[in-house]
């Protein structure tokens, strides 16, 4: 009887722990697609999100804004001053930005930031440094550029020549 009671209590405690874990935090990484498509499920909860820093790091009075991209979507992350690690690369045409892991509270409509969907980061770490990308040169286009400009030049000459001849004809007509 005593043992049964203990078992039941353990089961209740385990269930409560599980429920607390699933409603207040998500230990595994959640993608931006999941967050954007199911915001209600994660609103107000602690989540782990990771992505590449793209564009700019925007410093404001109260903290720093960055945008982290994973796959097709990007999410705004707000970091309180002093909590942002050193970021070397910001993603753009020439660079792949640093890859960050962020732990923080997700808001579907953040009240401190005018209803924006964002993450207020509590912990940020660089998990992979970015790098300079190599530009692929379009060799076929390069070859065709010369040909196109040569043919364009001759067509332009043709127009000038035709206009010149037309004007000459017109002047001759006027003289007659």
């Amino acid at each position: 009887m005593e043992r049964e009671k203990k078992d039941r209590l353990a089961l209740v405690l385990l269930t409560a722990c599980y429920l607390k874990m699933t409603t207040l935090s998500f230990a595994q990484v959640i993608s931006s697609q999941e967050l954007i498509k199911n915001p209600k499920e994660y609103a107000g909860k602690r989540i782990v999100y990771q992505g590449e820093v793209v564009g700019d790091i925007m410093e404001r009075k109260e903290g720093v804004w960055l945008n982290l991209k994973d796959g097709d979507y990007a999410l705004g992350v707000f970091v309180v001053k002093g909590k942002l690690p050193s970021i070397k690369f910001l993603g753009n045409y020439k660079l792949t930005g640093d890859f960050l892991k962020v732990e923080g509270i997700f808001s579907a409509h953040c009240l401190t930031h005018g209803g924006d969907m964002d993450i207020h980061a509590e912990k940020v770490e660089v998990i992979r440094e970015g790098f300079q990308k190599e530009e692929e040169m379009p060799l076929l286009q390069k070859l065709w550029v010369k040909r196109l400009f040569v043919s364009g030049f001759f067509l332009f000459l043709g127009i000038i020549l035709r206009n010149f001849l037309e004007r000459k004809k017109w002047k001759q007509k006027l003289r007659k």
Partner: protein
């Protein structure tokens, strides 16, 4: 009986298209120099290659199809509609070469969206797109907003007869000056003046909000181009949400509002006639429709407390309403939020706002405030007339540039276009539903495409069916040109096949 167009008619059309192609092609030098400035080597070649294609085609048409012939209304309309089909196809070449679009059709979609100042996009990985391609995307909006042909005529207009007809064909019925070239140049002077001012304001805010000076300048320039021309492209995938900045959002609201104003009204304000602003039927109608549609949005959002704070309601509800009403399409929420969080009533409010649009002779799309105002006034006039004795004739007036008497011809032409737009919105919605999307979402996206707005509730994506991509391209094209030029082209093609 249909009269078959002659060879000379076709030659004349092709000759004009050639001249316009050269002018638009030369504008590719701007993204080319941007590529040089940012030392982006591959885009330099992309733009030289595209410039080569533009110039070759343009010179070819000028050289082999030149003809001295009077330009008739039919020619003008066919030139306009074909030009607006050809430019997005040619303009899509550098986009496609960048590798950021899944197919050539996707890049044509974006080029049409750019020229027609819509803002719907199928680009992939926008955050890593080169600065040169960003410049071209936003530049297409700036050219398209003022008018592709207006641009070509402003710079290459010497010696072109019948320009007025082409000008009208590009959905601009009103002239500011008696001379169309002067009107076109005034439109460019106003636009470039605001471009400098707006870029400095937006760039300044971006800089104060933490973006480096060089990048802030370009962001300011691009966002202004797309806001004033009510386009809606932005350099990052999150659109305006990228900036997380209330001042930046307020500035874009102001720029979008500038874009919706009739260029005639801009002229009146320039010469100091400030009272004109409040007297004009378009501005009055616009304020009335903004209040009405915002009520729908605000009640809808407040009812289920989507944004519990007034500031958030303003930044999300009002922002998207103005963005939709001006035909811009700037967003500070993800496209899916409209469907997930916004109630039907709020979505309907935005759909109505998108469908109504801004002022005539501006850079906006949609039915336009002037037409709404005229139809509404005619309705009031009819009701009033019923209340009066039978032998009384009621005269209704309205103010648009000058005092005018409301006549049947005004109402008729306004009502026809009004109806045509409604049909276009419904047609796109039906296509969306045929592709398996729900009614409200299909109507939202269809109205956004046809009224050249650019707000999306998530349907527009590279994965959407090809038939829907084609439908939206068609809607953007026909919506930008306001039907007449497109119908004339159809008539021209039918006459070519069946005429005698």
């Amino acid at each position: 009986m249909l009269i078959k167009p002659k060879i000379e008619d076709i030659r004349l059309v092709l000759y004009y298209i050639g001249r316009i192609t050269v002018a638009v092609g030369l504008s590719l030098l701007l993204p080319f120099f941007t590529a040089i400035f940012f030392q982006e080597k591959a885009p330099q070649i992309d733009y030289l290659f595209s410039l080569g294609i533009f110039l070759n085609l343009g010179f070819f048409l000028i050289l082999f199809f030149k003809i001295e012939k009077e330009l008739r209304w039919m020619h003008a309309m066919v030139i306009v509609s074909l030009t607006w089909l050809l430019m997005p196809i040619l303009g899509a070449i550098p986009l496609y070469l960048s590798g950021h679009w899944r197919s050539f059709l996707d890049s044509v979609f974006d080029a049409m969206s750019g020229f027609a100042t819509t803002g719907l996009t199928l680009v992939q990985d926008l955050d890593h797109l080169s600065m040169a391609h960003q410049m071209w995307r936003h530049q297409m909006m700036f050219i398209g907003g003022q008018g592709v042909i207006i641009m070509a005529l402003s710079f290459l207009g010497r010696g072109i007869g019948g320009i007025l007809k082409i000008y009208v064909g590009e959905a601009r019925e009103e002239k500011i000056f008696p001379n169309v070239i002067e009107t076109a140049r005034f439109i460019w002077v106003v636009s470039i003046f605001y471009l400098i001012l707006g870029s400095l304001i937006l760039g300044g805010i971006a800089c104060l909000e933490g973006i480096s000076l060089k990048r802030a300048f370009f962001h300011g320039l691009w966002i202004f181009m797309a806001a004033f021309d009510t386009g809606g492209f932005a350099p990052h995938s999150q659109n305006i949400l990228y900036y997380h900045s209330f001042p930046f959002e307020l500035a874009t609201i102001f720029m979008m509002f500038l874009g919706l104003i009739n260029f005639n009204l801009h002229y009146s304000l320039w010469i100091g006639k400030r009272k004109e602003f409040w007297r004009d039927i378009e501005i009055r109608t616009f304020f009335f429709t903004v209040i009405f549609t915002f009520l729908l949005v605000a009640i809808g959002l407040a009812k289920i407390r989507v944004y519990p704070e007034a500031v958030a309601l303003f930044r999300k509800g009002f922002y998207h309403l103005i963005s939709g009403h001006t035909g811009t399409g700037y967003m500070t929420v993800s496209p899916f939020e409209f469907v997930q969080a916004w109630p039907g009533l709020a979505m309907v409010g935005v759909i109505i706002a998108m469908g109504l649009g801004g002022a005539a002779c501006s850079t906006t799309g949609g039915i336009k405030a002037l037409r709404i105002g005229l139809v509404f006034k005619a309705f009031i006039q009819d009701v009033k007339q019923l209340m009066l004795p039978d032998n009384t004739i009621l005269v209704e007036k309205f103010h648009h540039i000058r005092d005018l008497i409301l006549e049947d011809r005004h109402v008729r032409s306004a009502a026809i276009i009004f109806l045509a737009y409604l049909m276009l919105y419904v047609l796109g919605a039906i296509m969306g539903m045929l592709c398996g999307y729900p009614f409200l979402e299909s109507l939202f996206e269809s109205t956004s495409a046809a009224a050249n707005v650019g707000l999306s509730c998530g349907i527009t994506s590279p994965a959407m069916p090809t038939i829907l991509k084609l439908t939206y391209i068609f809607q953007m094209w026909i919506g930008r040109l306001e039907f007449v030029a497109i119908f004339t082209l159809m008539g021209f093609l039918i006459a070519l096949m069946r005429g005698k």
